[in-house]
Every structure is written in C-alpha cells, then in structure tokens.
Symmetry: C2
Subunit: 159 residues, 2 copies
Amino acid sequence: MRTSTLAIMSAVIGSVAVLAAADGHISDKQIAAGIKARQSQMQLYSFNLGVLGAMAKEETPYEATAANAAANNLMSLVSLSQAGYWLPGSDSDSVEGTRALPAIWAADSKVGEKGKDFFDAVTAMQAAAGTDLGALQAAMGAVGKSCGGCHESYRKPRE
Amino acid sequence: MRTSTLAIMSAVIGSVAVLAAADGHISDKQIAAGIKARQSQMQLYSFNLGVLGAMAKEETPYEATAANAAANNLMSLVSLSQAGYWLPGSDSDSVEGTRALPAIWAADSKVGEKGKDFFDAVTAMQAAAGTDLGALQAAMGAVGKSCGGCHESYRKPRE
C-alpha cells in the first residue's frame, strides 16, 4: 500500500528524472506514447467506475463479485507505475490531442495530493464494493469527488 | 498467481455469463465500452512492452528499476478482470472499430490457451526484467511470440 501511494506521488513528479536518466532527451515519439498510455489508463478507470456507478445508481443489479472485481481493477490500475506518462512538453499548450493543462507541471502543482486522494478513495472502495450495495454507494462519493478534484483544476474543458 | 491465471482463462470464456447475470441483455453501449476497454488495455501492454523492447534492442540503456516497473505493470494488467471486455456481438463482423475476429467466440476457440501463454511469458519476464540485460533479452522472445500467437489467429489484418 505504502509503495503504491509513493508510486502515485512520484508518477507525475518523478517522470522527468526517470526519462532523463534513460535517454537524456525526450522525443516526440515518447511524448505521443505517454499521452496515449495515460489516456488508456483513464479509459480503464472509466470502464471500471462505470460498472460500480451503474450499480450505485441501481441501473444494474448489485452483484458482489462483479463489484469487487471492478474495485480490485481500480486498485491495480492506480498502483501501476506511470513513469513515462506525464512527460514535460506533453501538456495541452505544447501538443495536440491532450487536455492535460500545463498547471500539472507547475512548481505549485497539487497533482500528487490529488493522486493520493484518488488512491485513498479507491482503497476505501475496495473494502466496500463486495460488502453490499449500501457500502458501495457510500464509497462512491469520495471516488467521484477525487476524479473531479483533479479534472477541475488540471484538465482543460472541452471546446 | 493461480487466481490470476484462472481470471485470464475465464475472462473471454466467462464474460457472457457475467453480463447475462447482471443485465439479461447486452446493449450497444456495453459493446462499445467493452471494445474501448480492451483496446485501452492493449495500449497499456504495448506501452510497457515498448519500454522493455527498447532496452532489449539496446535503443535505450538497460535500467533495472524501469525494466522491473514495466514488467510489474504487465503482470498487473494481465491480472485485471476482463469481464465485460469480450462480449458476444463485439467482433469485427458485427461492429465497426474492432479487429477482434469472430473466431474468438467460436466453440473451438483457443483464446484461453493463448491468454495462458501470455500470462506465462509475463511471469517469466517479471522474474527476469530486473536481473540484467541478458535475462531481459532472453525473456523477450516468449513475450513477443505469445502476443503474435493470439494476433495471428484472432486479430483481423489491417486493410
């Protein structure tokens, strides 16, 4: 758990160091691959949150096994190393095809804290999802709030 | 490990049952979400394989920490529950935007075995990646072969 949290905290902040050590410079290909990877990861968050959200809203019947699998998937995803995802120069001012605002890379960026909020909400969801519908519903708010907490400040609104 | 293997084996084969139990029918929205999710997962395989492949080909310097992180990511990804990914009616004959051949869903489908091959290759890579460059290079062949083994039979060639 602790390792995972640190992995998230360092995923954004530490990516420059990781890449610089490996290559010395960052190519357009690396930028494009990182953007595609982080967007794919967001899609998988969305997919699993969709399963949990549909149950929380009682659009689909509550099923402990499926809820638990979705919550476990979220925990696995949030624990992935994101080295290479958030490269400097991969913001919405620098390249096409991303809504990641430059504020992510600013000195006063709170993305590490935001990532920690999401990790904590997913941890709580993992404990709750397989228990019963009420527990799942109670855990859903913090998950949604943590998604929004980052998107509001660090994702460019659609034009 | 055993649970993960079973999860993969059942991911394709068991998805019908999972969805049918939850909803009774499969909507176009579920089909589209499943396709997007499985393509996102393939992207994340590709991203992490790219890190390992570049080191194996000595295009980027070998770095044990980064190699290990990429291999661990692959293991986390291959262990995700894929329930909802491979829905009947989500093949390349039925819908646009997918290259997943109908043979995946055929009675004599070998996708479970192919998934097991990939899982085994990733397990070996996880043990090798952080050791040294030679070990990584030796483990790479089986990973590539297992990707190709499924793609050759079950992925429609690009037109």
